[in-house]
Symmetry: C2
Subunit: 426 residues, 2 copies
């Protein structure tokens, strides 16, 4: 069989990793045919990359790769629109398979691009777009199919998980640890997409589509990042036996799908709580088959290249299949549930003045909103300093807690905004 | 497209689960075609099974299913030879795809059956054979391919893991917990294959073949079960911060492949240590892409049926591919490493008489064999009772430890056989 001809758009860390990995002769054995890189587009053709680039046909215009004689275009440019979108559209239209690691692109245009791929009889694969090297796209698309999936939750951003793990280990505050992560190259110079939760949201949107058969939908999702997490909350979490993790959570409820990205309290010793540093993890609940947990490296050259290579081997073998595991035409619009209706226990922290009546006032507002308290810690610092009151509520609706917090915030005895972190069941 | 016609051999818990799961109309959407059960063979055609069996064509002779008009034969009979082997051979020869959950069959005849499938242009799939619902066969076959895998380790037998977890939680001894597991249906009436490590060995042999591209080889494997594990060792493990797990371990070394099944000390708080009860888990080290961890239910109707259904959907979509991820002809014979050369730290426990000189004697034999001691605990019970001496060695070869233990066993001050459990790195 003829080798699979590949055009590479983007030859940075991941693209370079793909080129190097494809040199492994075992892959041809697995794929039943060889791999040949026939065209490349990258910012700088002359940059030293640690492998021989002299045989490649270079083009400055990435979109022109759609007109190359490649069978597959590997898109590693990034960005939700622009060149990446133009290239993917042109490639699919030209009857070329596409492998991409571009979560932003697919979160926005996934259903349309999947339909375009099907119309042209080619594959659109994106294992590298979610959780780096973890084969979770394949698992949801091909393995956990018998009973559907009702919940999928993940630690999907290694930068956030690294920062939270470091804050926990060192007691240092967010800004301090972020600055260090930037120095070490674990966080971008502009870290907003990571720490604000946007990157996690892109990945979650793809997982939700694979799990529920819905159109990827990044409009109906509540996103909160980790920039509000303090060492104090991490300390209290530890005292109660929990760890704070940034989770992407997608749940099928009786009233629609609940998609959210939020810092969450996860019980220590359970799988998601134990994911450390730059690792990623996904937990999927597959009805009667129970829960599945997948952990691995979420970013970096080798894990991400591994996922791109797996997609290429699939394509070489003729395993195309619809991008989201079912025909694009059958993907249903996502009907969002009311976020306020979500039920959870909550961690609440109030910084209050050390004066009589303050606990009565807080407890009164909570009672009025029907929020009942499971456990409580009150801790004074020095006399005259604000006092921390920490509560873990029983299960209640998000709307009830928010109503109570709104009322409490009007009190002149409560300083700063109360902190509210949902407790996520294992 | 025409529905995929299925013949079911075996309609027990898992087979029944497959029939029920295939009624899910979403699967046809995913597969691009429907599923139709055209023939069935099971011990008792009239048994009530919770679903309508009246439409099925029944046959008493399972092997006759190879002559049915099915496209795929699902073999859930079990056994390494006999009817299961005859059916699988006849079905592949007749150009029918085969899906099986039969680890014993494949551990023995895997390479030959894979070659037979290829020769006839059909698929031989076995996701259900290893770790129940965990899609580890697909992950090793299709996902973790870029860099190869150098180590694969797993908790592959839910019965053993349940027993060890219960021993830990209750302090009760092995026989007692086994009897309870049998009453609860978590252990077979004849538990030998589970607790002796044989079932784990079958599964490990398949994982090793997928990971290393070797012929499944159940001859070159050292197998030790959990029947020698005592509450005392579990207690000492806990004291040192470890848990005892029955692991299947396959490692590529410079001098061949090391396959073994053995109780192992795993550091508490690491992924394999935290796998509780009837769960299974697999950790794979994929070179520069780092470690991958997969956890899920290892047995039971739904998890196992889920894996069978995933294989059927793959076949319905035309994703055949070679059984072990590469052409059967390229599978290399397994070159075993010398088990004695394996390097590890060891937990050693000696029951000794409470007399002078005994520690000097033990330490002397260890020193002579070049085994150095990392930490030690000596614990007296009542006066006159034997004393437990527990040591954790530094890393050393298995042969050295065995040499020392052999010498120590000749001492008249040491009662019973010393206990030796390797410490498995996270």
């Amino acid at each position: 069989m003829k080798p699979l001809k590949i055009a590479m758009a983007g030859l940075g860390t991941v693209g370079g990793g793909v080129v190097k990995a494809l040199a492994n002769p075992e892959l041809a054995e697995r794929a039943g045919r060889g791999f040949e890189i026939v065209a490349v587009s990258a910012r700088d053709a002359r940059k030293a990359r640690g492998f021989d680039t002299s045989k490649f046909t270079w083009t400055a215009d990435a979109v022109a790769l759609a007109k190359s004689d490649a069978d597959v275009v590997v898109e590693l440019i990034g960005g939700e629109d622009g060149v990446a979108l133009a290239l993917v559209e042109a490639s699919l239209t030209a009857g070329k398979h596409v492998v991409t690691g571009n979560k932003a692109l697919l979160a926005k245009h996934g259903a349309r691009l999947a339909a375009l791929a099907e119309k042209n009889g080619v594959a659109l694969k994106f294992e590298a777009a979610v959780a780096g090297g973890i084969p979770i796209v394949k698992a949801l698309r091909e393995s956990l199919v018998a009973y559907g999936v009702e919940t999928v939750r993940g630690i999907l951003n290694g930068t956030c998980n690294y920062i939270l793990t470091q804050m926990e280990a060192t007691g240092r505050d967010f800004a301090d640890v972020l600055a260090e992560a930037q120095r070490l190259g674990y966080a971008e110079a502009d870290p907003k997409l990571d720490i604000g939760g946007g990157d996690t949201a892109h990945k979650l949107v793809l997982l939700a589509s694979l799990a529920f058969g819905t159109v990827p939908d990044q409009k109906n999702i509540a996103v909160e990042g980790i920039d509000g997490i303090t060492p104090m909350d991490i300390g209290f979490a530890d005292e109660f036996g929990f760890r704070i993790k940034l989770l992407g959570i997608a749940r099928r409820t009786a009233h629609g799908i609940d998609q959210r990205v939020q810092p969450s309290m996860v019980k220590a010793g359970t799988p998601l709580a134990d994911v450390d540093g730059v690792f990623n993890a996904v937990m999927a609940n597959a009805g009667p088959a129970g829960r599945y947990f997948f952990e691995g490296r979420g970013a970096g050259e080798a894990p991400t290249a591994l996922s791109v290579v797996a997609d290429l081997v699939d394509i070489a073998r003729g395993n195309f299949g619809p991008a989201f595991g079912r025909p694009a035409a059958t993907l249903k619009p996502l009907v969002p549930s009311d976020p306020g209706a979500a039920i959870s226990a909550y961690y609440l922290r109030f910084e209050v003045l050390d004066v009589p009546g303050v606990l009565a006032e807080i407890a009164g507002h909570l009672a009025e909103a029907q929020v009942s308290i499971g456990s409580m810690v009150q801790r004074a610092r020095s006399p005259g300093e604000p006092v921390s009151i920490v509560m873990i509520t029983h299960e209640t609706s998000q709307a009830s807690v928010e109503r109570a917090l709104k009322a409490i915030a009007t009190s002149d005895k409560v300083r700063a905004r109360p902190c509210m972190i949902p407790m996520e069941a294992a």
